[in-house]
């Protein structure tokens, strides 16, 4: 048996080495979400709270649901959880699949031709 001190000497993991659990472990090796497209600025909001015995949700899923009590973009969720956006997309796909979140995709570029929209943004910026 080795003492805890000996283990510490062998420790190669530190802040620099990054998280102990790699992103692909959280997604169980998946790189694409099962559902949803999830643009960086797609807005996500939690629609229901999981029961304490919810099966199949990992701690990261639960963190996302906590963060999305008020709407957040995919980019913000990724930044706050310090995970790549691709990982967040897979986790969001799971949550969408099980009806825990609502997602609003951004307007496609082809719909950006409504003058009222531009005027509202300009007025909004002016009043900041």
């Amino acid at each position: 048996m080795r003492s805890p001190e000996e283990f510490n000497e062998d420790r190669w993991l530190d802040e620099e080495a990054g998280p102990i659990v790699r992103p692909y472990v959280m997604t169980r090796g998946r790189t694409e979400p099962t559902r949803g497209k999830f643009d960086l600025i797609s807005l996500v909001v939690a629609t229901r709270t999981p029961s304490p015995v919810e099966i199949g949700l990992g701690p990261e899923h639960l963190t996302i649901l906590r963060l999305c009590d008020d709407f957040l973009s995919v980019a913000e969720i990724a930044a706050r959880m310090d995970l790549p956006a691709g990982t967040i997309r897979v986790l969001l796909g799971d949550l969408l699949d099980r009806g825990f979140i609502d997602v609003q995709e951004p307007h496609p570029e082809t719909e950006l031709d409504d003058d009222c929209f531009y005027q509202a943004v300009i007025d909004g910026l002016r009043s900041l």
Binding site: L40, A79, P106, T110, D115, V121, I122, R126
Partner: protein
């Protein structure tokens, strides 16, 4: 795809519309400074894996030739009256990542190209890219202390851009100045979007 207001929430939680604006320019031109000056919070950083999809998304034969790269972007957010949320993304400054911008530019309302008059050539790739892509953009000349002040016409001439593209002076550290740049961009986008043909008409 869900457009407009989401129905599934049953109106319990109103989700605003998200808008994306890109902040481009050379390394050290003040992109993150501008994002920070106008955003509600300090800039956040996200890592995105981007793919060079110019060969066509569904072209399976090209899979092995697909290049992916991970880029870090700084971004910030401005909430406009619970109706819109504006996200400002600082694009990666490295020129070798130029091909990733197409994915970043997708769906963007427009772009701000930050120029530093001491190294004006650094913003050429951004100007070229947005011109070719047809993304509305403005050039904001960041006034660095100690740098020689150029007339805006001189900058416009050096960049070789159309007279219709706004060139404005700004101080990327100041919130009001940054706000003015964004307002100029949205006004410019409003003018240009109405005039040009819709993208689907161009490709057909």
């Amino acid at each position: 795809m869900d457009f407009g207001r989401s129905e599934r929430g049953g109106g319990r939680k109103r989700i605003p519309s998200a808008i994306k604006i890109l902040i481009a320019g050379g390394f050290g031109a003040g992109k993150t400074t501008l994002v920070g000056a106008v955003s509600e919070t300090t800039p956040l950083r996200t890592e995105e894996t981007l793919t060079n999809r110019s060969v066509g998304v569904d072209d399976i034969s090209g899979v092995e030739a697909k290049a992916t790269t991970t880029v870090a972007m700084d971004f910030g957010r401005i909430t406009i009256k619970d109706q819109y949320v504006l996200y400002l993304f600082g694009t990666p400054g490295q020129e070798r990542f130029w091909f990733v911008w197409d994915e970043l530019a997708l769906g963007a309302l427009g772009a701000v190209v930050l120029a530093d008059t001491r190294k004006l050539a650094d913003c050429f790739p951004s100007v070229d890219f947005f011109e070719r892509r047809g993304t509305p953009f403005v050039v904001a000349v960041n006034c660095f202390e100690g740098a020689r002040q150029y007339a805006l016409d001189e900058v416009r001439m050096a960049l070789g851009i159309a007279p219709s593209i706004p060139v404005i002076l700004c101080d990327a550290r100041k919130r009001d100045s940054g706000k003015e740049v964004l307002i100029n961009l949205v006004q410019h986008a409003m003018l240009t979007r109405g005039k040009r043909p819709r993208p689907e008409n161009v490709t057909s």
